[in-house]
Amino acid sequence: MAIVYQKSKGLTDLEMHYCPGCTHGVIHKLVAEALVDLNLLEHTIGVAPVGCSVFAYNYFNCDMHEAAHGRAPAVATGIKRVLPQNTVFTYQGDGDLAAIGTAEIIHAAMRGEHFTTIFVNNAIYGMTGGQMAPTTLVGQKATTAPHGRDRAHYGQPLHMAEIMATIGGAAYSTRVTVVDMPHMMKARTAIRKAFQMQMEGKGFTFVEVLSTCPTNWGMTPVEALGWVKDTMINEFPLGVFKDADSKEGS
């Protein structure tokens, strides 16, 4: 009997604190596996955000920084400018990246910083208890939008992967998800490609991953997968929005 799949060496042995069925765990695995498979792990420095994935520094089996809320791209910039040969990535939620950290991510992209950002969009603030995020869907309820996000009051969700695609220094911007096997395989490819392009010096690489938050969506983990497929994808279309390799979007 040969092992077909087991826990990645890119992850530590610690049990993760995520809620049951939260796809943060799945995304962690894809990142860790990519780093191992591309032989980058030992030279990687990751940056954890403030959000449910704040403890990511305990899970990834490489050097890690825990950044202030939203500032992971600035921290990663500091690291990568000191260590241009190493692999650097940030792992950020939608509150972290698309709200408080908007300036930092846009300017990292503008400068074409040579790191990779994994953007976990679960349309909510998970960590702090289900408050509205910039990516919360119109009508979606949140603890600070008890009647659902009101378009007249709060406008429409921000589409970060599309914004990134408009910025010169961004080499790669894509949106994927992990809610079933075909999508997960695309996500896997996208994450690998992002790291590869980073190491080839192509510029800033950005992978938005639609993720679930069963706890704050008030759904079972399986229902949450369904909501991504049926509803969230309609608001946030999947695809490649920029690819410096192919010089065209999707």
């Binding site: 520094y57 490489c62 920084h65 500032r71 500091g78 300036a103």
Partner: protein
């Protein structure tokens, strides 16, 4: 060593490069712009990296990243910009990262004015950021001293794994004076085994972090920091005391006001009054004991704090003097530098002569 004429801000930047600083992240703000401008030209020549950040918030977080990766790194700004860095500074202190932060102070509050002031004393010495942390704060009153402080600051930061702040008023940043470049004493510093440079597969991951979610761990971490601060309190106190045996009045001042106090002492001498000057150089750790002893001298009848703020340094003076002598304040704010006459008059008032 020959003397050269240097502008304060440029001298600070040059001193940093000479001290081995190779990374600088900053954002423009008057009156410190010559620091990033000098760095943008000369740091790459020294093989380093200058980066203008999108904001002061980003700059301090770039410092966090670079410091965590083991670099000698610096940022500079002026008052409102330093306010924006407070969260980041708290993180740096919490994660025990060495770096040097320069504040060339201007008048406040708010946008205030771009003229020199010292209104950020509290912020620097007591942490404008959240939580119990301390910065070592050095306050030069000449450009020569600014250079020497910058040189030492990097070593001190590395020694304690703690941010060090150079706190100077805009006058120090903008003026030119003669400088003699002093070679660094080569302190032996601990190796940065904690830095994140990739595990290389040979060690466990290093983690740069200020989060300790379990309050017991958090308490332990704070206790550890506090022990470190106690060592600093014991070993890093700096001050200058020029106090005649028969001093009637003791001035306490740092930075530019310390120079003005010296002028006031001359004025007073003509009026038959002897003045002394106690100049804290490390604002934190504050030279509490030496100041208490100086104030305790029998001849001293009054202690007068001279500051370009409206009652900040005076708090530390009161704590140090601890009631042994009356403490009064000669304060200016908003970019106005007190005149020697005003300072002298404050002393006369404190002595009941006016």
């Amino acid at each position: 060593m020959s003397k050269e004429l240097w502008k304060g801000n440029e001298a600070i930047a040059e001193a940093a490069i000479r001290a081995g600083c190779r990374y600088f992240f900053g954002y423009p703000i008057t009156p410190q712009n010559e620091i990033p401008e000098y760095m943008s030209l000369h740091l790459p020549e020294a093989g380093g990296v200058f980066l203008q950040a999108e904001s002061e918030v980003a700059a301090i977080n770039m410092v966090y990243g670079a410091a965590g990766s083991g670099a000698r790194v610096m940022t500079s700004s002026s008052s409102p910009g330093i306010s924006l860095k407070q969260e980041g500074i708290s993180y740096l202190a919490g994660a025990e990262l060495p770096c040097v932060i320069v504040n060339i102070m201007r008048g406040g509050p708010g946008l205030g004015t771009i003229q020199p002031a010292q209104g950020d004393y509290f912020q620097a010495t007591r942490g404008g950021g959240n939580g119990d942390y301390r910065l070592i704060v050095l306050a030069p009153s000449t450009i020569q001293e600014a250079c020497d402080h910058v040189r030492d600051a990097f070593d001190i930061a590395d020694r304690y794994r703690n941010p060090v702040m150079i706190l100077a008023d805009g006058m120090i940043g903008q003026m030119m004076e003669a400088v003699e470049w002093q070679p660094s004493e080569s302190r032996t510093l601990p190796e940065k085994t904690w830095a994140t440079v990739g595990t290389g597969g040979t060690r466990k991951p290093n983690i740069i972090n200020s989060l300790f979610i379990d309050p017991n761990e958090s308490e332990r971490h704070n206790a550890h920091l506090n022990e470190k601060y106690d060592v600093m309190r014991a070993e890093e106190v700096r001050y200058e005391a020029t106090i005649p045996d028969d001093a009637d009045v003791l001035f306490v001042a740092y930075g530019t006001p310390a120079r003005l106090a010296k002028a006031a002492i001359r004025l007073l001498a003509k009026e038959g009054i002897t003045g002394g000057l106690f100049r804290p150089i490390s604002l934190w750790p504050f030279p509490e004991k030496p100041l208490n002893e100086a104030a305790s001298a029998a001849s001293v009848k009054a202690v007068v704090t001279v500051e370009m703020s409206l009652g900040q340094l005076v708090d530390d003076v009161k704590i140090a003097v601890n009631g042994v002598k009356p403490v009064s304040l000669c304060g200016k704010a908003g970019g106005i530098v007190p005149t020697p006459r005003e300072v002298a008059d404050a002393a006369l008032a404190a002595l009941g002569r006016k």
